[in-house]
Amino acid sequence: MSASSNRLTPRLLVRMIREEWRLHAELFGDRFAAFPVLVTLLSGAGIWLLTLTNASMDAVAAGLHALVFFFGLQVGTIGLVGRDALRDVLGDVTLLVFSARTLPVTWRRLLAVFLLKDLLYYSVLFLGPLAVGYAAVAVLEGVAPAAVALLWVTTSGTFALGVGTSLTLAGLGTRSRGLVAVVLVGIVAAVLSGQVDVVAFSPLGFYQSPSVASAVSGFGPAVVLSVLGPVLFQPAETGPARTSPDRYSRVRDVLGDGIATRSVLEVAGSSGSVWKVLFSMGVLFLVTAVLVAEVGRVTALDPSMGIAVGTLLGLGAFTTYSWVTQFDDAAEYRRYPVSMEAVFAGKRRAYLVLSVPAGLVYLLGSLVWVPAVEVAVGVVVFPLVAVYVYGVTALITGLSPNELLFDTPRFLAFGVALGVVAVPLVVAALVHTESPTLANGVAVGVAAIAALVGVLLARRASRQWADRSLDP
């Protein structure tokens, strides 16, 4: 390897880190700099609240690792398959990771540096603040400072595991989509059957019992996947033009609305198609099911699976909102003879058409082991909460929900608005142990009121964003 080639990697790394910062600054403005502070405060407050419920710090640490893993999965995909999302928000976006066509750098090297950049950037700006928030509570709870420092290291490793997994699956997908399905089914089957100790093959295993052996088994998969992803990835720079038979008329006949039809078709035509809605709901469902089981195991409570799943799926429908608003903007609709009220109504229809059936698949699937009454309550709660989430998101973010993520004041407003409904529903799920009828009644009542509020908020959003459309 030549000297100039040796210098290339650190240069690329520095430029990619700078690019990532500028990307976030462009997306979210100067307020992005305050986001690490918010992460520290939120994580500290959240962990403190958990300790009030007698949750052990070990359980909290395990939860943080799980959260960071899913975050890593998401970050790993955004740079690769989320390119259309970036283009929608920023216009034509060219990232260094896509520069193999114009620079004498291989795809593999670009992806490897991209992955290293993600690890460093997010480890410092997100996982560091998360660890600080954890430390503030953990030290008071008697956790050794060394264990707190270790948490930063192992969550960073877990983040790498998530990004590496995304990248490897994306790399496999460039060769065979069938292979991705087979691998996913294999992993899920191995985990559910108890044949594989997931914790032992993740950095959490090292955190729980540090040793040379646990370091190898815990960090090994992250390293292997981080290498495998770039190796497997085959960029499809050119290919046959994608065609699609006339779907519009058929979908329009069903939905009865042009804006809803367009939104559904755009989600269907984008990366991951409508399956990404099903996938994201599946992840939420699994996380909720594990949490409910864990609460049942470590406490004397027996939370309502129906209320918990209905609530979490409803809140998680935010991602569907993001997808149905990803490919257009208010400026385009201001060129058509259509009111913002009609735009938001069409968007809501598309949002519900995509998210509700996807969530119901899992809720109804849970009938296998969850009592029918609990599932029925979940089936009622879920769409009502989804309607509320639509109203809140429409009012706070308009047709640009991605800006919410790092816009601290809006993020706080959004969090508070969701908390107002989520807290009583979670309480209802927990008290279900003692008084199931009351809990079910409260859950349905709260969800119904929330839905009504959601409808009103959506109406207000139409007026608000219509007024704003007349401003620069």
């Binding site: 259309d84 033009a241 699609s244 039809t261 367009r262 385009e332 003879p337 620069p472």
Partner: protein, 266 residues
């Protein structure tokens, strides 16, 4: 009858004045070209006239409708082709034009789509995902969405960019035919060759004000129009405003936005 009328139209973005008392009148049937350096307010003018933006002061009328009081009424009767706008990436041209038909509420969309796809030469691409079309093909689809509802007045920012020479000639013919039928066309362009060839009247806007207006057919050729343009914007050029005379044809594609002080377009 007057197609477009503005009186003392002013638009400010904070400290920046994008339009500074713009007054103009465009009769129906005119092929009017608005010329000016980058940032002179051309795009802002179109945004206000189509109800996409509200003026700080002044008034406007488009085919008898007030774009501030009733923007939807204006948008119903006009077609709009913004600068550097593509059809939605994950819809095919057929699906996009069906969508346009839905929001515009016109009848027999399939027949009209086929007719316009034939006219603009993208019929074989009707079912191709727009993300996979060439830039020229995307521009043709955008032209189709501008005219498909047979509007009485059309606003276009740079109609010929990215089109091959044959298609450019066909679009020019179409625009002339369109105005010959009594319709009005309001064209914003950097390309003097386009203005000289197409327009029956041009207005030169500088720093948000209309500084000159004339029939370009009175001029000998494109070079003379360039000299005329230079003389009108000379003061602004001396102040450091980019010389819009650079590049006189659509092949010299210009990525600059004309929305003074308002940031770039999408």
């Amino acid at each position: 009858m007057t197609g477009i009328e503005t009186t003392e139209l002013t638009k400010t973005y904070g400290d920046v004045t994008a339009l500074d008392g713009l007054t103009l009148s465009v009769p129906e049937g005119e092929l009017f070209g608005l010329l000016g350096p980058n940032g002179s307010g051309k795009t802002t003018t179109i945004e206000i006239l189509t109800g996409q933006s509200e003026p700080t002061s002044g008034s406007a009328s488009v085919l008898g409708h007030d774009p501030v009081a009733d923007p939807l009424a204006v948008r119903e009767v006009v077609g709009i082709l913004p600068e550097r706008e593509d059809p939605p990436s994950f819809l095919t041209p057929r699906e996009y034009l069906q969508f346009v038909g839905d929001v515009r509420g016109f009848d027999a969309p399939d027949e009209r789509i086929a007719e316009w796809a034939d006219r603009l030469g993208f019929r074989e691409k009707l079912d191709t995902m727009s993300a996979d079309l060439s830039e020229g093909e995307r521009q043709r689809v955008m032209l189709a969405q501008t005219f498909i509802h047979e509007p009485d007045l059309v606003f276009i920012d740079e109609p010929l960019v990215n089109l091959d020479p044959i298609m450019q000639a066909e679009v020019r013919d179409h625009l002339r035919d369109y105005c010959a039928a009594g319709n009005t066309l309001f064209l914003s362009t950097h390309f003097l060759e386009v203005a000289a060839d197409l327009c029956t009247q041009i207005g030169i806007v500088r720093e948000g004000r209309l500084v000159a207006e004339r029939d370009p057919r009175d001029l000998e050729d494109e070079t003379e129009l360039l000299e005329y343009f230079r003389s009108e914007v000379d003061d602004a050029t001396a102040d450091g405003t980019p010389d819009a005379g650079e590049g006189t044809g659509p092949a010299a594609a210009d990525g600059g936005s004309d929305r003074a002080g308002g940031g770039g377009n999408r």
